[in-house]
C-alpha cells in the first residue's frame, strides 16, 4: 500500500513524512522511465510530424491547439510557445481555442460543449493548417469532433492521448497520434508536455 498510515487509526507524522518522500521518489522514477518509453515508441514519428508541421508553416499554415481542463493549459502553452518563443527562434502563427471565454461559453450555451472546438475550426480552419488535440483519455467528445472537422477541412491532424489512446486511436484517427502508455493522468500530462516541447524544437530545427 502506498500510504499505509492513511488507513491505520491515528497517523504518525514522521512515518507519514517518510511515506510521502518515498512516494515522490518513486513517481519521479516513473516519469523518467515513461519518457524513455515515449522516445522508443514515438521518436521516429515525432521527427516525421515535426517535418510535416514545418512544411505546413512554410506554406502559410497556422496551428490550432485545444484540450480540456489541465490539457487546455497545455494547449495554451503549446500555442504560446509557437507564437512567442523568445530568443532567436522563429515566431509562428498559433492559436489556442480555449483562450476566449466569450466564444467558449457562447458555443457551449447555444449549441453544446461537444462543438466548442469543432465550430472554431469551421470558422478559422483552412486546408494546410494544423490541428493539435491534447487529451489524457483520448475520449473527449469535443476533441474527437474537432479532429473530424479538421480532417474534413484538409488540415494536418495531430493527437496526444494517454492510456491506450481511447477513441482518438480508432480509425481513421489523426495523421500523427502520440499515445503515452500510462494509466496515471499526471504522468501522462508530464510526458505530453515533453512531446509538444519536442515537436516545437524539431519544427524549429526543420524550418
Amino acid at each position: 500500500m502506498l500510504y499505509p498510515f492513511l488507513h491505520a487509526g491515528g497517523a504518525d507524522l514522521d512515518t507519514l513524512m517518510e511515506d510521502v518522500r518515498r512516494s515522490t521518489k518513486d513517481k519521479v522514477g516513473d516519469i523518467v522511465r515513461l519518457r524513455e518509453t515515449v522516445l522508443e515508441e514515438h521518436g521516429a514519428d515525432l521527427t516525421a510530424c515535426a517535418a510535416r508541421m514545418a512544411d505546413a508553416f512554410r506554406s502559410g499554415g497556422r496551428l490550432f491547439t485545444f484540450g480540456n481542463g489541465g490539457s487546455s493549459t497545455d494547449a495554451q502553452d503549446a500555442a504560446a510557445l509557437f507564437l512567442n518563443p523568445g530568443g532567436s527562434a522563429r515566431p509562428l502563427p498559433a492559436l489556442a481555442l480555449t483562450n476566449d471565454a466569450a466564444v467558449v461559453t457562447a458555443l457551449s450555451n447555444d449549441v453544446g460543449f461537444e462543438v466548442v472546438f469543432a465550430r472554431q475550426l469551421a470558422a478559422f480552419g483552412r486546408p494546410g493548417d494544423i490541428a493539435l488535440a491534447l487529451s489524457t483519455s483520448g475520449n473527449s467528445d469535443n476533441l474527437i469532433a474537432a479532429l473530424r472537422e479538421a480532417a474534413r477541412r484538409g488540415m494536418v491532424t495531430v493527437g496526444l492521448a494517454g492510456y491506450t489512446g481511447g477513441q482518438m486511436a480508432e480509425t481513421p484517427g489523426p495523421h500523427h497520434l502520440f499515445v503515452v502508455p500510462s494509466s496515471s493522468v499526471h504522468r501522462i500530462q508530464e510526458a505530453q508536455t515533453t512531446i509538444y516541447h519536442a515537436l516545437w524544437e524539431l519544427t524549429q530545427e526543420a524550418l
Binding site: 507519514l16 512516494s23 515522490t24 516519469i31 508536455t193
Partner: protein, 198 residues
Amino acid sequence: MTSTVTEVFRRRAEPGAALADDADVIAAACHAMAVRFHRGGRLFTFGNGAAATDAQHVAVEFVHPAIVGKRALPALSLTADIATLTGICAGPGFEDVFAHQIRCLGGPDDMAFGISPDGRCGNVLRGLETARGLGMLTVALTGGDGGALAGAAGHLVAVRSADPRVVKEVHVTAYHMLWELVHVFLEQPEVLNREVVA
C-alpha cells in the same frame, strides 16, 4: 546546433530524476499547505508566459481534481482574469500585476504559489513578497539557482536546468506531487496540528 529527437529527450533525463532530491522540500511544503487548507485558506497561483498556463493548471488541479473522490479545494490563478490583468498593466504597471491582486484578495490564512522558470520574474517576486507581508504561506517553483526568488519563498523547488522548457516539465511533476501529497496530509487531520521537524 542540430537537435535530434533522441537528444531532445536525453536533455530531460537528469533534471527530471534530480527532482527526487527535493522530496524533503516537497513533503514539508505539502504539510504546510494542508494545514492552511484545513484552516480554510485559499491558494493563489501566478506566473508569466508558459508559467501562466502552469498557474492555471495548478488551480484547476485543486478546484476540480482529476482523481475521483478527492475534495475540491479553493485555488485561483491570478493569470486568468484578463480584464484585471490588462487593467493593472495599463495602470500601475506589469510589475504590480500579481501583488495588486494578492493585496485585494489575500489574507493571512492564504497561500501564494509563484512560478518563474529562471527565478527572475519581478512581478512574481513582488507577488511573493506581498503575500509574505500579509502572513501568507509562500511556495515557489523556479529554475537554475532560484534567482531572486530563492530568498522570497518559504518553500522553494529549484530545477537545475537552464532550458526553460525542461524546467517547466519538471515543474509539472512537482506540482502534481504537491497536489497529491496535500490530499494525503488532509486525509489525516491529526497530523495537521503538529510541526514538521526539518
